[in-house]
Amino acid sequence: MKNTLCLIKVFLQVNLQMSLAYRADTVINLLLNLMWLGWELLSLSIIFSNTKTLGGWGVGELITLLGVFRLVNTLMAALLWPATEKFNASVRDGSMDYTLLQPANSLFLVTFARITVWRIWDLVLAVILVVAGTFMSGAGTSPLSLLYFVVLTLSGVLIIYSLWVVLIALTFWFTKFDNNVTILAALLDAGRYPSTVYPAWLRIIVTFVVPIALATTVPVQALRGELGGQQVLIFLAVSAASLLVASQVWKYGIRQYSGASS
């Protein structure tokens, strides 16, 4: 555990140095992000100037949801998309060989290979949105539902992460599969609004096929007091199971890679 944390620290350091090397890029990205946040809040305020609730959700709850959505989005943008890019390139050019020969968990190395460090700022914004939204929706948030909220956000993120692992592991079989995470990226945006506002077919997709809703809508539902302890446990079990499945698929993928590459 201590070693893992130490590794993450060094990864962060190295990536921070990388970001600092590209100053203009970092500054522009920070500004762009603020602009996006403004746009998102504006569109929420437009919606609520016409209606009091959206799918039964008030403005405070939607701001919380926006916060959670941005949290998930940030983890994707800061960690998984850059890792995907690096991973796809390394399978093609063979530098994956070096990753596999290092005495550390290869999935860990692949996940943390590239971190877009300035996204930390987004994380802070996201947390501010969650806190502000929770205060705005006011009473009814018990400490227990707060705990559920945190646990469900984490398990939702783990489920999406597992899906990502499976998707990129497919590259081991196909060698050239640059679109491996396209479906994940395309549906990610659906997490911006509560899944209850979507038509049934889309709701099924974002809950079961590409479970964005599990990391966005569901935690906020817990915050609204809609979910019981039993359901929270089920979500936890599902996330543990999906992580297990994903790491097995990864292992088979590596075996496949070892069997086929020359």
Binding site: D97, L100, S261, S262
Partner: protein, 327 residues
């Protein structure tokens, strides 16, 4: 207790399935729907042993199975048959203890991150290999002394010359003080000075650390400078395992003499030696001449013919091996 071998390879085999098709559009469409596969035996029941701190050259023409063997020994590939033990481990089990005590350096692949200085990548390696600070610094100082790294590891890798980059790649592969080194074409593409530098480094590194080294190279000079023993494989099969001196005597007791003649008349060079491949670009014609006859033949050539330019070289490794085992 007798010291056991560092590397033991027993009847190691690797068969690939490659999809193949003929050229052309319709063949491409057909193969999209129905692939035909062919088995390629890249490595075929190869056996050898390497003792601790030996430096062995691993030779063979392109596609002979060298890289495949190195990849199996480093643990990247599972063999389709046979056994291998390196430092007592079965490589493809990828045990952490094993990975921490070996290194694979491939001249044509990058381990280092392109955008940051090598020094930063080294820190990452330190964390991954869990090297204590003191050890890490000592090793780095030693590598710096041998490779003169101080300045180049501060620059982003993408700004380095090929030679400088290779120095950094080697250093990155050696920070954890591996006991076994697998080097695949470590000098490929480098200019002569850089080649010599890398060669001297490997020699000195081996002397100091007692590490076992198995290396492939297309440059005969690499092999003659570093290895007393060579293993040759051809089409996946082991063809020779023994001293380098014997190899030269047995297989390549000749040199290549190349001449560019001043007139366009067709001269018959076969009177002087066995004609070899001509080089169109430099308009050089080559003949093979036994090593002990080189001075004699050169003198005759110069006396008999209007020679504008003359070179004497070792035959390329590829052709030596090709000739010895095919011809």
């Amino acid at each position: 207790m007798p010291q056991s071998a560092a590397i033991t390879v027993e009847k190691l085999s690797k068969t690939y399935q490659v999809s193949e098709r003929e050229g052309g559009f319709s063949a491409a469409v057909r193969s999209f729907f129905k692939r035909t596969y062919r088995d390629v035996r890249a490595v075929d029941t190869v056996s050898f042993q390497i003792e601790p701190s030996e430096v062995v050259g691993f030779l063979g023409p392109n596609g002979a199975g060298k890289t495949t063997t190195l990849k199996m020994l480093s643990g990247l590939l599972h063999p389709t048959g046979g056994q291998a033990r390196v430092l007592g481990y079965t490589p493809w089990e990828l045990k952490r203890e094993y990975l921490s005590s070996m290194t694979l350096v491939m001249g044509q692949r990058n381990r280092l991150s392109w955008d940051i200085p090598a020094a930063d990548s080294f820190l990452l390696n330190q964390a991954i290999y869990r090297l204590p600070d003191a050890d890490f610094k000592r090793t780095l100082a030693e590598l710096d002394e041998l490779l003169d790294l101080k300045e180049i590891i501060k620059k982003p890798v993408r700004n380095l010359s090929l030679g400088e980059r290779m120095k950094c790649e080697l250093a990155a592969g050696l920070l954890h003080r591996p006991k076994v080194l697998f080097l695949d074409e470590p000098t490929i593409g480098l200019d002569i000075t850089a080649q010599v530098r890398i060669r001297e480094f490997l020699k000195e590194y081996n002397r100091r650390s007692g590490a076992t080294i198995l290396l492939t190279s297309h440059y005969m000079a690499d092999v003659t400078a570093l290895c007393e023993r060579v293993i040759i494989i051809h089409q996946g099969k082991l063809k020779y395992d023994g001293g380098l001196n014997d190899l030269a005597r047995k297989i390549a007791p000749f040199k290549l003499i190349g001449v560019r003649l001043g007139d366009s008349a067709a001269h018959d060079l076969s009177r002087y030696g066995k004609p070899a491949q001509a080089d169109e670009e430099s308009e050089m014609s080559f003949i093979e001449v036994r090593a002990d006859q080189v001075t004699l033949v050169t003198a005759r050539l110069l006396a008999d013919l209007p020679v504008h330019d003359i070179t004497i070289t070792d035959p390329p490794i590829e052709s030596v091996i090709e000739q010895a085992f095919n011809g």
